[in-house]
């Protein structure tokens, strides 16, 4: 299980995401970050296990809760942190912010502020790969909230119809915003939906990074062989509420505590030590490195200059002449 992947790389990525999110939380609650913030703490194993099973040239689309997924797919934390501050050198030049964070050079097709919107985009990327006769695959993450939305069902149908290399990964964290699953889902187990559309569907322990990795690696291999889409229901939990404004009180305290006790990072740390891959000291060193990196990133990002406000008129169209005319119209 997971033999082709470097476990310490997985560990490092999970720790990096945890520190990124914790740093963002502290900065936001300290009044330093504008906008919205949806934290993915607790879901690191799903993000890292899934993206580590992809190649650099594979595609991935994420959600409004997209920091972990995009960092796992290769987004560098420094420009990402600058983006959260709205700095000119941010990943999206301060146009996207937390909810739209992306690095297209890493195959990231964007986080997305609209529930389920990344799903058809991923289907299209997989269609493109097939038409270009490439063996790239495309993975979409979506949360519980997306199970009620049309494009998930349309996307599963299209991916199956055209035998596309799509990997549907549901980040099953039990809640659509604050609403528990039994209030928005007709059957408890959406794996049955995916099976109904004709694709193999598996449930994995989404807090077990190696289990997620293995499931996605199998799905990717299947996609590359031209055998079509797969569905993975990765059961995990977000420790915080839907967003920073949500204290998470809609969820029973005992439930939150139970899932915190299943911390995917602490758990993987034990597995690594048990298998003699590395010592606790080695892992502490990785932890310290990532902590220092994020601390430095935050300090640097805070000092980064903001864009001139006129930069708001850039980056809309790629045709500079027609684009400028479309934006400005005539000025008399």
């Amino acid at each position: 299980m997971g033999t082709q992947v470097n476990w310490l790389d997985l560990f490092r990525l999970m720790v990096r995401i945890r520190y990124f999110e914790q740093t963002a939380f502290e900065l936001y609650t300290g009044g330093k970050l504008p906008g919205f913030l949806h934290l993915s703490i607790g879901q690191e194993a799903t993000s890292v296990g899934a993206c580590s099973a992809l190649r650099a040239d594979d595609y991935m689309a994420s959600t409004h809760r997209g920091h972990g997924d995009t960092i796992a797919k290769g987004l560098a934390v420094e420009p990402a942190m600058i983006e959260l501050f709205g700095g000119a050198a941010g990943s999206c030049r301060a146009k996207g912010g937390s909810m739209h964070i992306a690095d297209f050079s890493q195959g990231i097709l964007g986080a997305n502020g609209i529930i389920g919107a990344g799903i058809p985009i991923t289907v299209g990327a997989a269609l493109s790969a097939k038409q270009r006769k490439s063996d790239q695959v495309a993975l979409c993450f979506f949360g519980d909230g997306a199970t009620g939305i049309g494009p998930l069902h349309e996307g599963m149908n299209m991916a199956m119809l055209w035998k596309l290399p799509v990997i549907f990964v549901r980040q099953n964290n039990h809640y659509a915003e604050s609403t528990p699953r039994h209030e928005y889902q007709g059957i408890p187990d959406v794996v049955r939906w995916a099976e109904g559309y004709g694709m193999p569907a598996t449930k994995v322990d989404g807090n077990d990074v190696l289990a997620v990795y293995t499931a996605v690696a199998q799905a990717a291999a299947r996609g590359r062989r031209g055998e079509g889409p797969s569905f993975i229901d990765s059961e995990t939990y977000r420790w915080y509420g839907h967003n920073i404004g949500d204290p998470g009180t809609a969820r029973p305290k005992e439930e939150v505590e139970m899932w915190k006790a299943r911390d995917p990072i602490a758990r993987f740390r034990r597995v690594i030590i048990e298998h003699n891959i590395a010592s606790g000291t080695d892992l502490d060193a990785i932890d310290a490195e990532e902590k220092a990196r994020l601390q430095a990133a935050a300090e640097m990002a805070e000092k980064e200059p903001k864009p001139p406000v006129e930069a708001a008129l850039e980056d809309l169209y790629s045709d500079p002449v027609l684009g400028s005319r479309a934006i400005q119209g005539v000025r008399v």
Binding site: F104, P120, G124, A125, A126, L127, M158
Partner: protein, 327 residues
């Protein structure tokens, strides 16, 4: 030059671009032969380039456009067809929140070479859900270019340009124009976006019209000529970007303006042109600008009622007279 229909112009542009560039493909409902599209605008294309490049889809507009976007972001140049412009309402999140904004939200990382084609407009008794003119909605969305050709020549040249552009283009055809004929050059040609065409030269009043209304405006101009009124008819051809200069230059000459647009009048495209001209050419105007648009109701089914709601040649004639103080 060869005389072809507007429908053939759309077909030929797509087929020629498919043959020219392997990254172009068509995606939409009912496109493949022998059916060739609800309005036959893709007939004899899959026969030529193969079903791999002409994808028939489930009826799922939001995902058709979403999938076309995903392909556009990853190296392809899709041409997506919405069978009716009305159905864009089913795809509005994909069009507005995704297609139009992904480049901006990513700080210019993404390139979106995507054309969305749809036919709109009334005149066929298609009632309220198959005859909407929604161009103003689309012009309202930053990030899209919007083309709305009235003739076979413009349709073919602009569609080829649209397919070669690296930005998303919403390309609006009109169901009542498909059978109209016009000359097109033999061989490849393209037309620039943002350049209006003066469809008829005139001196006394400027009529700016879009899509099928260009034909109505030309008929109106012929009527007005009988009364000794010389009307200039301007077709902007693309609504975003708009050739403001051509309109202003004409108004500078005629001092009078009628704006004709098939959509309902309230908050419509004609209001936008009116606002632009009163701001930029206030001192040129000798009369209030007249708008000729649909009445502010959904399209009714019954043909006489439909004609009553849609702008007519007579409405344009009356509006032009009004700008000249003749009732």
């Amino acid at each position: 030059m060869t005389e072809i229909t507007y429908r053939e112009a759309i077909r030929d542009a797509q087929r020629e671009e498919l043959e020219r560039d392997p990254s172009v493909f068509l995606i939409g409902e009912d496109l493949r032969d022998p059916w060739g599209g609800a309005y036959k605008t893709t007939q004899n294309i899959s026969n030529v380039v193969g079903n791999d490049r002409v994808l028939n889809t489930p009826i799922a507009e939001e995902s058709i456009i979403g999938a076309a976007l995903g392909a556009a972001l990853t190296g392809m140049r899709p041409v997506a067809e919405l069978q009716y412009l009305d159905f864009v309402m089913r795809a509005m999140d994909s069009v507005v929140n995704q297609v139009a904004k992904v480049r901006y939200m990513s700080g210019g990382q993404a390139k979106v070479p995507l054309v969305i084609r749809a036919q709109g407009g009334g005149g066929k008794s298609s009632a309220a859900q198959h005859g909407n003119s929604l161009e103003a909605w689309l012009c309202h969305v930053p990030g899209l270019f919007v083309a709305m050709p009235a003739t076979p020549y413009d349709a073919k040249g602009l569609l080829k340009t649209a397919i070669r552009m690296d930005d998303p283009v919403f390309f609006i055809e009109h169901k009542m124009l498909y059978m109209t004929k016009g000359e097109v050059p033999d061989g490849d040609y393209t037309l620039p976006f943002g350049v209006a065409d003066i469809k008829r030269k005139g001196e006394d009043v400027t009529i700016v019209a879009t899509s099928r209304m260009v034909l109505f405006a030309l008929e109106a101009a012929a009527e007005l000529e009988k009364e000794g009124i010389s009307a200039e008819v301007i077709d902007p051809r693309t609504l975003v970007p708009l050739d403001e200069a051509a309109i202003l230059e004409s108004v500078h000459k005629t001092n009078r303006l009628v704006v004709v647009n098939e959509a309902v009048e309230r908050c419509g495209w004609a209001a936008e042109v009116t606002a632009m001209v009163q701001k930029c050419a206030f001192s040129d105007l000798d009369a209030p600008i007249e708008r000729v648009c649909s009445l502010n109701v959904p399209l009714p089914f019954q043909p006489d009622m439909e004609r009553f709601v849609l702008p007519s040649v007579n409405d344009i004639v009356r509006a032009a007279r009004l700008t000249l103080g003749k009732v």
